[in-house]
Chain length 163, copies 2
């Protein structure tokens, strides 16, 4: 069954893209293995204190981010699409088992689409965060989407480029 390709909406989406000098399989591993996710997902000096992954539609994707002074943010959502080494779709709008999430951190709902396309010996990597509308996208941008995901991306590149 071919899943629907999410429709981009520039007003309601935030995106970043990069060609990474590592094959898709390696970038995919960094997204789907909790021990690897913990090494890049949260921009320093924050850290990923906990990561739980059940990689299938409806399965948990949970990260607990911890700040330098101890505050924690629990991001619990679930996967919607899992296409090995090519595409991940995950949302915070639904909890594991697809139950609607009634307590979103910062009241911010989004679905993230991550693609991993082979490009030469590397990977064309894209992240698109889809929001209900332009207002929510702006709020996410104001909260530091580009800085945060950008810094995490640098950490991801560093991790997958090693050895």
């Amino acid at each position: 069954m071919i899943p629907t390709t999410p429709k981009p909406d520039p007003a309601a989406d935030l995106a970043l893209a990069r060609v990474i000098a590592a094959p898709p399989e390696r970038v995919w591993a960094a997204w789907t293995q909790p021990d690897l996710v913990k090494r890049w997902f949260t921009p320093k000096p924050w850290e990923t204190a906990h990561c739980e992954i059940d990689l299938r539609p409806g399965g948990i994707f949970r990260t607990v981010l911890r700040g330098p002074d101890g505050p924690e943010v629990d991001n619990t959502g679930c996967w919607l699409e899992v296409v090995p080494n090519r595409r991940l779709v995950w949302t915070v709008a639904l909890l594991p088992g697809f139950r609607p999430n009634g307590s979103l951190p910062h009241g911010l709902s989004f679905t993230a689409v991550i693609t991993f396309e082979p490009e030469g010996a590397g990977t064309r990597y894209t992240v698109t965060a889809m929001h209900p509308g332009a207002e929510a996208a702006k709020r996410h941008a104001d909260m530091g989407f580009h800085e945060g995901w950008g810094a995490a991306l640098e950490q991801l590149v560093e991790l997958v480029s090693k050895g």
Copy 2:
């Protein structure tokens, strides 16, 4: 890939079940073919003025309900799981393409799990509506979940029992 079985939570779920004297394939058809959905989905004297279905994860499930005096309610969501003749999962928390829905009718978010299990020559049919929590489930119950889905079920039974 085996999807996660949604975890029931009696406090946050509303459910109904019935053994229907028609095979799963027939009940499944009534749920997945727009012309058939329009014949049972909305309790009279309301009607389903419009139904649109793209039966795959992320695909649209839209019904527009019209009251006798003309008011319309647009329910647009998407499918999350499609297991032919056995199970459907659909949510109003996400729009087609998995974008979070920022304008839920009545502000009510839920995910519905519908199962169709063979039982003798018939079908054990269940509907479970999962809510973010007990308060939302109570509000859905107060809005007439049992009466509405119950009346629709009678219409469904009448439709699939014919010929």
